[in-house]
Subunit: 142 residues, 4 copies
């Protein structure tokens, strides 16, 4: 089973700053774009999840900026499941420039909450999603 | 009665683009900042309005970019009521640099809708707000 | 010759606001995305233009918000040349939702300046670009 | 000598998302706002630094989201120097809501580069800045 998911982002003019590079805050947004696309690819889009009244806020982030990107670059984002526990999902991302240079690595951690803000146990309440994410996680290397 | 309301915005690094100027899309956001501040100043903050279940989407915008601004500029935004009708509010904005140069002029038009997306008649449903806005409007020059 | 250029934007989570719709400032950014793509399609990408030392700031904008869009909507943006003169380019945009509903119409006006901030006469300095844009302009209907 | 610097950010409507909270990417931008303000407070504003041809890109970030914030919240950001070495500066941030709740903690790491993209040694090339930052660093507790 495929364990790495690829998404491409075309850097926009409005994402550059006066250093003439992509502003560092945009990589956080591209992580979200890649995450949304990843969830679509595994059949669990956020629209469907939010319709059940469940939202998935970010709990933590860590980012390393390795090389700059800029306007009109196509950034290729590789997403993997780092870890899934009963209540938390961790994803990791690598972003590459067209020439193969590594531009960025990052990790995001998420929980799931219901409309009242209470923690949702993925394992119990979304067993199929939990199963899929477990199979994709790095811990579960064949 | 004061008819012009002043708000100051400090241009941030993340608001610049690779031309080393403030990206033009940010002025739309600064109009919103000034509008929020204006509503606070007249005693009708949006938090209070939204608590009644009423939201105020933008219906139209027009903008003229006269001079550039950039990182660390303090932009002084002057807001006035251009027009208030039973269902629509139009505001106009002038943005100045510290040296007094006019950088931007713009207009925004707003309606008011309830949770079901139905148009709210300000004149009927918020008569005090309507009264205040009417007194502030340019049509009502003394 | 084709006179209308189509670009698609997938609305991101970070582009929504607490009304649960796409924040109005993002349409300005999508106009820029469509404009960039349009310039690529006619063979004059901004990277190439900026390499000659010429930049193209926005002079004016006008926007009408007809219907809301939200997270995961695919917005189809139709771009046309409204007018090209010796020194100014005006483009117009229509944005449609997947179901064909018109969500937004807008116009942007641009000039061209060199590194010193001086106006560049497109007709004189970029005659081929001027020729292409003229042929695409609405004034030049067959 | 004061070791903690305080900056306040008023959360804007355009910074919220469809969960009705501040989108997580904005905290990265508020870290930058607080950093800019901190540099001003110690007498080394980025405008002055960039005039010497030196820029300060972000090398890494780490963030923990503890509590949500939303439109019209005043977020109080406390900034401290975590570490300064010959070539790197690490800052840490705590963000509080008006009621004193901790909303966010984060760290950012920066290097300094010249126009050619070469690393600038702060200790050697900006000895006074290095001295100031060293005195402010946590390692240098009295």
């Amino acid at each position: 089973m495929k364990k790495e998911f690829i998404y491409k982002h075309l850097v926009q003019y409005y994402e550059t700053d006066k250093m003439a590079i992509s502003h560092h805050s945009n990589y956080i947004r591209w992580m979200e774009e890649a995450r949304t696309d990843f969830m679509n690819q595994i059949g669990w889009d956020f629209v469907k999840i939010e319709e059940t009244g469940v939202m998935s806020p970010v709990v933590s982030l860590s980012c390393k900026y390795k090389n700059t990107t800029t306007f009109s670059d196509v950034v290729e984002i590789h997403t993997r499941v780092k870890e899934i526990s009963g209540v938390r999902l961790a994803l990791e991302y690598e972003m590459y420039k067209q020439d193969g240079t590594l531009a960025f690595t990052g990790t995001s951690e998420h929980c799931f909450v219901n409309k009242e803000g209470k923690i949702v146990r993925v394992k119990r309440d979304f067993p199929e999603l939990f199963e899929t994410l477990s199979m994709l996680s790095k811990d579960n290397e064949d």
